[in-house]
């Protein structure tokens, strides 16, 4: 089993290296680290486009169809969960 895990980790690292080396997309896209989000709702308050909502686990989630990448939510998150 340890060998299987090692293989998986190596695969992931290879994917990462490839991904880091590639070109940047032309448009910014924000995501939420759900393991750091505590569902406080500060990001919902400041979003001007109604693009953040709670999922069924009580964590904030970005609706990419509405997000205009203004980045206001990044600064107000007390847990630094938005990147």
């Amino acid at each position: 089993m340890k060998r299987s895990s090692a293989v998986l980790i190596i695969v992931l690292v290879v994917v990462l290296v490839v991904a880091i080396a590639c070109k940047r997309v032309s448009i910014t896209e924000y995501h939420i680290d759900s393991s750091s989000c505590n569902g406080c709702g500060e990001c919902l308050r400041v979003c001007p486009n109604d693009a953040i909502l709670y999922n069924h686990l009580g964590k904030a989630e970005i609706d990419q169809s509405k997000c205009t990448q203004c980045g206001e939510c990044v600064a107000v998150c007390p847990n630094h969960a938005i990147y």
Partner: protein, 397 residues
């Protein structure tokens, strides 16, 4: 504020207060006075949380989050905000059902631009938002299936530009609806591995042309491996095909790679390291583009000399250069005498804001506290600084 709004807030607050004595209950309340170059003002907040287990199978949750603020948070900040939640969870053997309703009330809200595509209306003033959610999960030893649906309704007052006077004219209240639903399944295999698939669909019902429609089909492979008794490793790779007008061709397939290592260094010191890479495989499958990297490290120390575990220090860093979301942050709190604690914190976001704070608090039985806090915020955009002094309490029953 209108009477129906007061009634809605009371509807959330009263049951919480009435039932508080029976169960786990959390109350955070306080106010702060702030000052910056342009104005002075007061913020007040009140957060109530209550949980009750009727039976081992049925759990009810109520929360009320009320805040009133003069402070500048962001261009879209609302000066009065109340978010109430009523949730229920029912579990029986291998079946789980969770339902919730959230209500958000906006008061003295600012005029905001309406969505990019919305008739000829120029701006809106948010009034109220309703959110309902339903999720079910059926679990077998190696297989779990889940389905979820959400509905969101935002009420607002639209404003239209009068071309004769060049003034915004208030229109009749209107509303927009968004629906989100999806199904998924997870299969566990070889002790540490799992494979998942999911289909999620979202539609903005107010836009007939489907500008806010989005369908995600995702597949992922994950591993959770206890490296030793003190460390735990998680890794996952997920690919999501996103079909919607808002998603450009170059971002059609999102590849998310995630690695998280958690380490218990000693009884008092623990930490974790997280790395997430978001990349995209273009619609033509020829090019891979980088969306963002997210590297985060965090350490937490709890002093063994404080039996109530109130003395602690935490330090963290976040590196996400593509989205200008880098940060350094830390907090320390130390017992001086008896229940008296002194603390300090910093939050440095070089591209956005730097924040420093000092805190004096008195802890009484359990983890209850009253505190006095002084803080300074230095916004990196707009050459603006804010100082604030807060008095508050955190109480638990």
């Amino acid at each position: 504020m209108s009477q129906p709004r007061h009634l809605l807030i009371l509807a959330f607050l009263l049951p919480v207060l009435a039932l508080a004595a029976q169960d786990a209950f959390l109350l955070k309340t306080g106010f702060s006075s702030f000052q910056d170059r342009k104005k002075e003002g007061v913020n007040a907040f009140n957060h109530l949380e209550w949980e009750h287990c009727f039976t081992p199978r049925l759990q009810l949750e109520l929360s009320s989050d009320l805040s009133s603020s003069d402070r500048y948070l962001a261009p879209a900040d609302q000066k009065f905000w109340h978010n109430g939640k009523l949730g229920a969870r029912y579990s029986v053997s291998n079946f789980d059902l969770a339902a919730s309703y959230r209500n958000t009330i906006y008061g003295s809200s600012k005029l905001l631009g309406l969505y990019p595509v919305w008739n000829n209306l120029q701006s809106q003033r948010k009034e109220m938002q309703h959110e309902s959610s339903l999720a079910v999960q059926y679990s077998l030893p190696a297989l779990s299936l889940q389905a979820q649906g959400r509905h969101k309704h935002l009420r607002f007052t639209p404003y239209e530009l009068d071309l004769n006077t060049f003034e915004l004219v208030e229109q009749d209240p209107a509303g927009v609806d968004d629906v989100y639903y999806g199904v998924g399944g997870r299969f566990d295999f070889l002790e540490y591995f799992s494979a998942s698939v999911a289909v999620d669909h979202k539609d903005g019902l107010f836009a007939k042309e489907g500008q806010y429609r989005l369908t995600d089909i995702s597949a992922s492979l994950a591993a959770q491996y206890p490296v030793s008794g003190q460390s735990h490793l998680e890794a996952s790779l997920q690919i999501t095909n996103r079909d919607g007008a808002a998603i450009s061709d170059e971002k059609r397939n999102l590849l998310q790679t995630r690695i998280r290592l958690q380490q218990q260094f000693s009884n008092d010191l623990r930490g974790w390291l997280l790395y997430v890479n978001n990349s995209c495989l273009a619609a033509d499958a020829r090019n891979i583009y980088l969306v963002s990297n997210y590297l985060r490290a965090q350490l937490q120390y709890t002093s063994p000399y404080d039996a109530s575990a109130g003395s602690f220090a935490c330090l963290g860093a976040k590196y996400s250069p593509e989205n200008k979301a880098n940060a350094w942050f830390g907090e320390v709190e130390h017992k001086l005498v008896r229940g008296l604690y002194a603390g300090a914190g910093f939050n440095l976001q070089p591209e956005r804001l730097n924040q420093y704070s000092g805190k004096l608090s008195y802890h009484f039985p359990g983890v209850n506290e009253v505190y006095l806090q002084y803080g300074f915020r230095d916004y990196q955009t707009g050459n603006r600084q804010t100082r604030y002094l807060s008095l508050g309490s955190n109480l638990y029953w």
